[in-house]
Subunit: 227 residues, 2 copies
DNA sequence: CGCCCGCTTGATCTGACTCAAGTCAAGTGG
DNA sequence: CCACTTGACTTGAGTCAGATCAAGCGGGCG
């Protein structure tokens, strides 16, 4: 598996760079090598209950990790954007399903057990632990949102978060459907739609195409709505 | 680094034993020493924004960690029971408030930075990482509960979880108030109360004293209610 | 060949109505 | 007295059903 010549200028992590060496063939940079995998829209990366032999880092596109209840109700715990690591488990099995939101590319790393991790190369271990901590912090903030915020507050928080993580200047191009947003925020698709429409009426946002581009016209007002 | 002769018989963790050496004076057992601290009911251990110089393990009693919204709405992210570790942060500040539920005892450990952690003693680091992973897994399961479960399902899940974690045979002695339960499950105190009353009417539980003792009369039915 | 048009499809939006959970205000009992 | 329960009423968000919008497809035709 030969790596493309140029991964030049691909700094996709907004925060600290994690695991720089995603091209598969770059040997000796880290104790664990990664191979890239290209995914089609909605392609499944792993399911709840799968043996957790690997973990992943998003290179391009976006990934959702979700859980299902027996009757089909779904909770999307997180959206993973370029630079984000997902699929780390302490047990033997994946506790989520991971699917590509659109077409996407991920790097696959062989799982290292927690024991191995702690003893292995410090810098590498540190990156993994940092990714875990970030997941934990996001999950904790999200519990506040799910348990205590109103629909409008949830949407405002979500939009500002997406803006921060993937803003193209003044607008956000969401990689996910309304259904995904609803299942992430603990709402229904109708409530998501109505909230967005109302925010547009109030001049907080613009929805130019009835699709996935959203212009944040008044970030300050959104922030005050966030609660 | 000498290991102690005897960390005799003090296994309070229901799961894998973590950090056995809480008595303060036992030197040289681990790279980080713990001193015990005794807390009164509702005493604050740290608040959101405090410098995160220490982390903690519950010895006896119970602790809640919570976040507040500007208008006072509260979300309790977790209850910590004997053996549980809380207060680990990746940043410089605590992101939660921690308070004792009743009178409680905790061991205080000096914080080690993530960098130090990764390089330090393998067994110790492993215990910390395992505690973080457990927090993450609990948070993830709790997001499913907060986002997608009904009031009855939330209560059933909560009761079974408490039963598992501190069951005294057939009944549970809850260490927290209805208000705490409500703020943990994303409900109001009235809804918690009504749900419990209804479960009693249906014969799923018994509330002998109108207080914090709950008899789980029909665990199987509770489990099917859990969704 | 390339364009237009009608049809289909998938996603989103909207309106009318329902209901689970919240709010407010008394009780109750340990 | 304080934590908890209960009842009466309200409401935010869900459900159901249908409309709208934007793409994509395929065939006929200039």
């Amino acid at each position: 598996m030969q790596t493309a010549l140029s991964t030049s200028g691909l700094s996709h992590a907004p925060s600290a760079t994690l695991l720089r060496e995603y091209p598969a063939a770059r040997t000796n940079e880290a104790p664990i090598l990664g191979t890239t995998r290209i995914l089609a829209k909605d392609e499944q990366i792993f399911t709840e209950g799968d043996r957790a032999a690997f973990f992943y880092k998003v290179v391009s596109g976006a990934v959702r990790t979700s859980k299902l209840l027996s009757d089909g109700r779904r909770q999307i715990d997180a959206f993973h954007l370029p630079g984000d690591i997902f699929g780390i488990e302490s047990g033997e099995e994946h506790r989520f399903t991971a699917e590509a939101l659109g077409s996407a590319t991920v790097v696959v790393y062989r799982r290292c057990s927690l024991e191995t991790l702690a003893c292995s190369d410090g810098a590498f271990a540190h990156q993994i632990v940092a990714a875990m901590m970030r997941s934990l912090e996001r999950a904790q903030d999200h519990m506040m949102l799910l348990g205590r915020k109103s629909a409008a507050e949830k949407i405002a928080t979500f939009l500002l978060d997406m803006d921060r993580r993937l803003s193209d200047r003044d607008h956000v191009d969401l990689p996910m459907s309304r259904t995904d947003i609803a299942d992430h925020l603990g709402l229904t698709i109708e409530t998501v739609s109505r909230s967005l429409t109302q925010m547009e009426r109030q001049g907080l946002i613009e929805l130019p195409s009835h699709r996935r581009t959203i212009v944040l016209a008044n970030r300050a007002a959104l922030r005050s709505l966030e609660a």
